[in-house]
Amino acid sequence: MDETPLNILIADDNQSDRMILSAIVKKMGHQVCEAADGIQAVEQFTDKKPDIILLDVMMPNKNGQEAAIEIKQLAGEDMVPIIFLTSLQDAHDLAACLESGGDDFLSKPYNKIILQAKINAFSRMLKMHNTMQKQRDVIQENNEHMRHEQEVARAVYDNVAHSGCLDLPNIKYLLSPFSVFNGDVLLAARRPSGSVHILLGDFTGHGLPAAIGAMPLAEIFYGMTAKGFLMTDILREINAKLKNILPVGYFCCTCMVNLSFRRERMEVWMGGLPDFALYREADNKVEHIKSRHLPLGVLSSSAFNPETQAFAFKPGDKFYMWSDGIIEARNEQGELFGEERLFSTFNGSNSDLFFDNIINSVNDFAGENGKDDDTTLLELSMVDESVIGKVDIDLTSGAVTGPTDWHLSYTLRDETLKTFNPLPMMLNILNDVPSLRSISGQLYTLMAELFSNAFEHGVLGLDSKLKSSADGFAQYYQQRETAMANMVEEFVRFDFDLTPNSNATGGKLTIVVEDSGKGFDYKHLNKSSEGNLGYSGRGIPLISSLCDSLTYYGNGNKVEVVLSWKNRIEE
């Protein structure tokens, strides 16, 4: 017998028949409830909820067929197998039984073996049906959850990925309503200098995996554009971020543009996108602008190539960008809209109509088969700066040049000195000055050397000579551990002083580093003693090469370096 005991209803107006069936069913281990006519059968069904019903066809008050119809209705989508008990022989009559809702029949005299086999068969079917119902319910519930989550994701996505200044008068755009689900990103922001950065991105995949990458991308784009970073810096940052967070095989096909109104110039970086169109009013021609790079998120930072293409871009000229949804739009015959058709829409003399032409063309082609559901399209025009308006920032107030006149003092003590690396934070602060960005690497190396000198040689008193041999290295680090454990009331202080020169073409950066150590005999240090310091002394030659002047004070525990910097407002 199949494992779970079932509840079986026996409906027959003949008591001796009920007794026989009951005995057979109970022997199988199942439970029995009984009814003597059709009305009782329906009542028992409602009360006891039997799993299987043995139903006599001919019963007083309500016959088997009527009862079957009612019971099946009451059961709804639940499965309740009904086995008709009948002595009918005629095939038509038997068929009629099944039509009325019966699932099988059993003829008299009742054969124990056959009845048991039928009950077992229906028991298996019941189990399968119930399992499927449960699974379907779970799936439905999960679906509901997912749908809800996608709604939320869409709302967040819309806030992040499509804000910015897409509403500038020189931009026309169409954003696919399904961009959350097809990974399209369209961003625009003004730089402090007045030029505009635009980014069109197409993430691989669909749905949430595609949408997720857009968040950090947008954050970097807006953050760095507002601070006046160059397009190449921003692309490098985005590439590194995406490479870091996206799984292998996921990437973002991207086009980024820097549009300068003042210089009537456009700089473009394209990776992984199909050809875009550059229209020039002067010769009324459209040029293909091609992707020269891999999509973002594929290459490591060292392999990444931020090289851009630059074009003159005069009033009347237009640049068109689109996601591949346009090219891959299909008509009812399954044909692709394709790149050729797209470029052919630029025929005609009135460039003001180009944008609408593209959209109408795709819609006409696709017919009812989806229209511009999957289309993201952007038109950039060159206009006079007066049309755009100046950026809401006073150009002379320093937003362009950044903070150029300040002093910062940062002291690390004891436990913090032991465990915290202040270099990234300090470099960040220096990077807020646009003009210092071009010497960022230099500054980092400089600060790293100065810090290392101040902490290891100054505070911990370690002798760099030890590092000149392999054994020495191990000893060095052991001594370092000991010295760190014995640190009491020690410090290292950095002082930064940035000043602009009088004609605002640049200025000076002075860095003073002081430590609580015993210092060293700098007075007897000369350039030729470089060799005495072995592999890694206080790196004085290196430091000297990175700055304009290097001066020691006190007992050698205070050092001052000075560099000069040039004002660079990058358009």
């Binding site: 107006d13 003949n14 008591q15 001796s16 028949d17 007794m19 026989i20 005995a23 057979i24 022997k27 001919m58 007083p60 002595s87 008299k108 005299p109 009742y110 124990k112």
Partner: protein, 110 residues
């Protein structure tokens, strides 16, 4: 010749175990009641009654493996359904006789 299929009855006994006697007495009691009513129905030539009662006894008898009795009831049931109930006295006699045999054989078993 036996009115009962003894081999099948033996199997029925195994299925019913202790309830076998109970089954037999229930069958006999019900069938006797229905037989009385059948006699009346045939007298009054009530076709639908005849068909219903004959059908019921037929089924129960089949399950008790009284095949001859079951077959006789079938004939009367068909007549009832066909509304040809004016000449059933011979069939009724046969049923009454066969039932008596079945009854005594069943009693002998329990």
């Amino acid at each position: 010749m036996s009115s009962l299929d003894l081999a099948q009855i033996q199997e029925l006994k195994e299925i019913m175990e202790d309830a076998f006697d109970d089954l037999i007495s229930t069958y006999l009691k019900d069938s006797e009641e229905k037989l009385v009513k059948l006699n009346q129905a045939i007298s009054s030539q009530d076709s639908s009654e005849i068909a219903e009662l004959a059908h019921s006894i037929k089924g129960a008898s089949a399950n008790i493996f009284a095949e001859e009795l079951s077959e006789l009831c079938r004939i009367v049931e068909d007549a009832g359904r066909a509304n040809q109930v004016d000449n059933l006295s011979a069939d009724l006699d046969a049923i009454n006789t066969e039932f008596a045999k079945v009854k005594s054989e069943l009693k002998a078993l329990s």
